[in-house]
């Protein structure tokens, strides 16, 4: 074991083998990794021992590297062959290690985190924050790490799959670049990188022309991004899922990555250039919310439609869903999530792996591109982020033995199962639970239009329970009217009122049922704006508040107020009230008036957990304090599916 460790410690070789394929930029990393690989925790880890049987003759590996590199690096015509001998010559057996998943994750992680993260530290802000809500990195790392060793061993034994995996590894090695880290982590990484840079110079001298050339320009990575078309770069940005991570890394990665702050000047320009849609001008944006992306309203719809053929990378199904988000036709957390997953499913069905690429990596990047497109249309909800995280982990964990068509079928059935288990069946379980809390003679209050709550009401009605429903609505969404219509048609006795009258109606209410967009691990319920007010008034009137929410919407993030993270709606929607022509006070404003007037249309708010009596979820009825437990257990579970 010690001997092996020593061999691994032979430093640059291994790293070169790992990193070169991806981009020349990453050259410096090897040096930084060198010390890290020697560090006891890494080498001592038992998993690394299992590597030894997985030896593959160096030459093949080299070729694999080559293939991988060409696939991953968009820059054409780069002469890689010069490097290859160097790579191989350093330590073939080490490079072979990459084929095996557990060790790779261990070793590779350190390297990645050193080099990749440090560059990432800079990088992340510039382009990736947009994807913040979808960030799947945490889950992904887990998935890789947990990869059963047996599979790895099997694959390693037969050369062909091994080869393909090698390619995958290389491709995936590019992903961690975007992985997010905490500030402290980044600082540490930058320092280590600085040290690495110095080392790299020395190494460059040693390693000769081929190795030396790339390493001499270590900071080249950002330019590389620019080389690709805008869409490609966004794809790349979205896939900062680290496939290779060590265990301790994984623990750190549990931290949700910071969200993109739109008021960050240095980032703004980049995001604007890359975005498909026109960014609305910053006029009349509320000071407090400059960190949030401005609302993109439906007026951009024709523009986006006209760009359809420029965006040929986007699958039509995804495109359609994006347009629906943009136009506001599709709303509601579950509906949006299901539509997105189904679009992805369709895209996966029509997908074929391009030559010289592997399904795992190319598909992940494709999905990343789709996701970034959808984010452009409307920021993702937490639940969608969770779903994307699930999908990506499934892709990453596809057995390499599967053929392309098998892999596609597996993925499609995975998506179906996710929709079915996490949404459809979960809702059914929630119905059962919630219905036990409805008694004859109850007056139930609900706010806005939550599909789960609607199902609960209808279900209880079908059970023959006698109750009345108070539907509370608020401008400008007025979703309650739609709910009211559906309930009245079904024969439920309803009272309709506006949010302001909540104190008036609360006297006779016996239960409050609320939906949620997401529930954070501190018990905060993130839901349609106004929910917090309803819960607060109910709390003041001693009326129990039941929040109905599928567990897949739980998120490990924490939030205390509604300002740090939110979504902005169309500000102009405020000044108009449908069906009320008499409300036209803001119609003919002079320029001077407009200068002073800001319209703020928030979409969500955060309800403090002390207003919540119980959360009805597919795992039963839990207090808000139990959310973090569910988040932890749930995460494990869906990785094990």
């Amino acid at each position: 074991m010690d001997a092996r460790r020593m061999s691994r410690a032979v430093p640059r070789v291994r790293q070169v083998g790992f990193f070169t394929p991806n981009t020349p930029v990453q050259q410096p990393r090897p040096q930084s990794a060198a010390p890290s690989s020697e560090s006891p925790p890494l080498s001592d880890s038992p998993a690394s021992n299992s590597l030894s049987p997985v030896m593959i003759p160096p030459p093949r590996h080299l070729s694999d590297n080559l293939g991988g590199r060409t696939a991953a690096v968009p820059v054409p015509g780069r002469e890689n062959s010069g490097e290859l001998p160097t790579v191989g010559s350093y330590n073939p057996s080490e490079s072979v290690l990459w084929l095996d998943s557990p060790p790779r994750s261990r070793i590779g992680d350190e390297e990645l985190s050193e080099g990749a993260e440090s560059s990432l530290g800079w990088y992340r802000r510039s382009n990736s924050a947009k994807f913040a809500s979808s960030l799947p990195s945490g889950g992904f790392n887990l998935s890789t790490v947990k990869h059963p060793e047996s599979v790895a061993a099997v694959e390693a034994k037969n050369p062909l799959p091994g080869k393909s995996e090698a390619q995958k590894e290389q491709a995936s090695s590019s992903k961690p670049l975007k992985a997010k880290t905490t500030k402290a982590e980044r600082r540490a990484l930058q320092e280590s990188q600085r040290a690495a840079k110095a080392a790299s110079k020395a190494e460059a001298n040693k390693s000769g022309t081929a190795g030396g050339a790339p390493s001499s320009k270590p900071m080249k990575q950002p330019p590389l991004k620019k080389d690709g078309p805008p869409v490609a770069s966004s794809i790349a940005a979205s896939e900062r899922i680290g496939v290779d991570r060590s265990v301790e890394k994984e623990r750190k990665k549990d931290l949700p990555p910071p969200r993109k702050q739109f008021d960050d000047e240095s980032r703004g320009g980049r995001a604007k250039r890359r975005s498909v849609l026109n960014q609305p001008e910053a006029r009349n944006r509320v000071e407090l919310f400059r960190h949030l992306p401005p609302h993109k309203n439906g007026t951009q719809l024709p523009y986006l439609q006209s760009k359809f053929f420029e965006l040929h990378e986007k699958h039509p199904a995804v495109y359609k869903v994006g347009l629906q988000y943009l136009a506001g036709d599709l709303s509601g957390g579950n509906a949006r999530c299901i539509a997105m997953l189904q679009a992805f499913q369709e895209a996966i069905r029509d997908y074929s792996t391009p030559p010289e690429k592997t399904l795992t990596r190319d598909l992940t990047s494709k999905i990343g591109g789709f996701v970034s497109f959808l984010i452009e249309c409307r920021p993702l909800s937490m639940s969608m982020g969770n779903a994307i995280r699930f999908l990506k982990s499934r892709i990453a964990r596809l057995p390499l033995t599967l053929s392309e068509s098998e892999a596609k079928t597996t993925l499609c059935s995975d998506i179906d199962r996710f929709i079915n288990e996490k949404i459809v069946l979960a809702d059914k379980v929630i119905l059962r639970h919630a219905a036990t809390k409805i008694r004859d003679g109850d007056v139930l209050l609900t706010y806005g239009s939550s599909c789960v709550v609607e199902m609960i009401l209808l279900y209880a009605h079908e059970l023959g329970k006698q109750f009345r429903v108070v539907v509370v609505d608020s401008h400008p969404m007025l979703e309650g009217q739609k709910l009211l219509r559906r309930l009245v048609v079904k024969g439920l006795s309803c009272i309709y009122t506006q949010l302001n009258a909540i104190s008036y109606v609360m006297h006779e209410v016996t239960r409050v049922f609320l939906g949620a967009s997401s529930i954070f691990s501190n018990g905060t319920v993130y839901s349609m704006v106004g929910t917090a007010s309803v819960a607060m008034v109910a709390h003041a009137f001693r009326v129990p508040v039941l929040v109905c929410c599928e567990a897949y919407k739980f998120h490990e993030r924490v939030q205390l107020d509604s300002i740090c993270f939110n979504e902005l709606g169309d500000p102009d929607a405020i000044s108009k009230v449908p069906g009320r022509v008499d409300v036209n006070f803001l119609d003919n404003l002079t320029d001077k008036q407009k200068e002073n007037l800001e319209l703020l249309n928030l979409k969500y708010d955060a309800t403090p957990s002390d207003y919540i009596s119980v959360i009805v979820t597919d795992y039963g009825m839990i207090p808000p304090t139990s959310v973090p437990v569910i988040v932890r257990e749930y995460r494990k579970e869906y990785l094990l599916i």
Binding site: V286, L288, D473, S474, H475, P476, Q481, L484, R485, V488, G491, L492, S493, C494, I495, Y496, T497, Q498, L499, N500, A501, I502, S503, Y504, V505, H507, M528, V529, G530, A532, S533, M536, V537, A540, D561, S562, I563, N566, I574, S575, V577, G579, R580, V583, F585, L586, L589, K592, Q593, K594, N596, L597, E598, L599, L600, N601, L602, D605, A606, P608
Partner: protein, 417 residues
């Protein structure tokens, strides 16, 4: 008399049809109406005050019945009754003092005559007034301005006194009516200038870089904010739109016209935004004796949110909004349901409602209340035209404006004749 009757009926109709918006306008018009009622009242030789009280009460009862939730009407009626009582009291005491004095010393200097009776009359007035209402700090302190009116009347009483008993009577009756009308005019003046008095205090409460939240529209709030703005305070205002009337749009427009940084938010975003707000400043519909507030709908929610985030909740109210009643179940009894068409279009749901079957109650009810009740514990401060007050002080403030006999207007027997 008939033209008064016509005026009263006209006003009654307006009240019943809710044509008059805002408690200030209502209060002013009520006071003006009562003034004309008083001026038209035929004065008997004896017990003139009772006659005035009787006629004011008769009209007042009808006005209150026309719109029981517009508490300003009742407030003004009570204020006028209180004025009549006070004037009558000061007249009688002054007359008594005049009699005594004229018996003692016939011809003195004008100044002397002005001073001595004033003092004695004030003492007697204070003594007898203490039977009318409980003693309060303000009563004790403000006796001096009250009695300032006395010398004038007493001197005139003294003048006429020497001539003949009947002449004195008639002049006293004219005097009473005249004084009452003067006082009512003052009341009208007070009502129309209460905004300025309240706005004057703005600088004491709003300082630089504050963030202020308000809901709906209130002229008092507008004047208050603008007064602070004129004093070169720069601050930011969040205006919640105040559905279903959306008066907040109006207020926002007024504020931006006057150059204030204004952000219009939805009512639902109040909870989200209140964590960044320094102070909530709102207008009121009426302030009850316990310090509770009848306010535009939605304010209870805002007050709860403000309490949760420890944001001061300040209510601006002119003195005509101070109601001497203690509320019981005010959310319902002092509320008014407006037209459902403000929430749902008529006929919008007619397709899914089957009225033809005619069994039982309709499935759909639309609730559109006008007011909210904010309990006193949620209010941090009242700012009236007499200064800032705690909710717990309201009952005391109210005792200065109203006579205890008038609290219940519906019982005719309380008039005491």
């Amino acid at each position: 008399m008939p033209d008064t009757q016509a005026l009263v009926n006209d006003f009654l109709n307006k009240l019943k049809k809710r044509k008059i918006e805002g408690s200030q306008a209502t209060a002013k018009q009520t006071a003006e109406l009562l003034r004309s009622v008083i001026s038209q009242t035929r004065m008997p030789y004896t017990n003139q005050a009772a006659a005035l009280i009787h006629s004011v009460k008769a009209v007042g009862e009808r006005l209150i019945a026309a719109n029981p939730v517009e508490l300003a009407v009742g407030n003004v009626v009570r204020r006028v009754l209180h004025i009549v009582r006070e004037e009558d009291l000061s007249l009688t005491t002054a007359a008594m003092a005049g009699l005594n004095l004229s018996a003692e010393s016939d011809d003195e200097d004008d100044t002397d005559r002005d001073n001595h009776p004033a003092l004695s009359a004030a003492a007697i007035a204070a003594a007898s007034r203490s039977t009318l209402r409980p003693p309060s700090l303000q009563t004790l302190l403000e006796d001096v301005p009250d009695s300032a009116a006395v010398p004038h009347t007493s001197s005139s009483g003294g003048d006429s006194e020497g001539k003949s008993k009947s002449a004195d009577k008639s002049s006293r009756s004219r005097k009473l009516k005249h004084d009452v009308i003067e006082a009512v005019n003052e009341l009208i003046q007070d009502i129309s200038t209460c905004h300025e008095l309240i706005a004057e205090q703005a600088v004491e409460h709003i300082h630089q870089n504050e963030v202020i939240l308000t809901l709906g529209s209130s002229r008092t709030v507008l004047e208050f904010l603008c007064a602070a703005k004129e004093k070169k305070r720069s601050f930011r205002v969040f205006v919640a739109e105040g559905a279903p009337r959306y008066q907040g749009h109006l207020l926002a427009k007024e504020l931006v016209t006057r150059g204030l940084q204004t952000t219009l938010i939805t009512d639902s975003a109040v909870f989200a935004m209140i964590s960044r707000v320094n102070m909530v400043i709102v207008g009121a519909h009426a302030v009850m004796a316990n310090g509770g507030v009848i306010a535009p709908v939605g304010l209870n929610m805002v007050a709860l949110a403000a309490q949760k985030h420890a944001v001061p909740f300040v209510v601006l109210a002119g003195s005509h909004k101070l109601c001497p009643l203690y509320p019981h179940h005010p959310e319902v009894l002092l509320n008014e349901l407006r037209s459902p068409s403000e929430l749902l279009d008529f006929g919008e749901f007619s397709d899914c409602l089957d009225f033809g079957s005619g069994i039982g109650a309709p499935l759909l009810h639309v609730v559109n209340p006008t007011f909210d009740y904010v309990p006193p514990k949620l209010v941090s401060l009242f700012i009236t035209d007499t200064g800032g007050h705690n909710p717990s002080y309201m009952y005391r403030l109210i005792a200065d404006y109203y006579s205890a006999d008038d609290l219940v207007l519906e019982r005719r027997t309380t008039s005491g004749n």
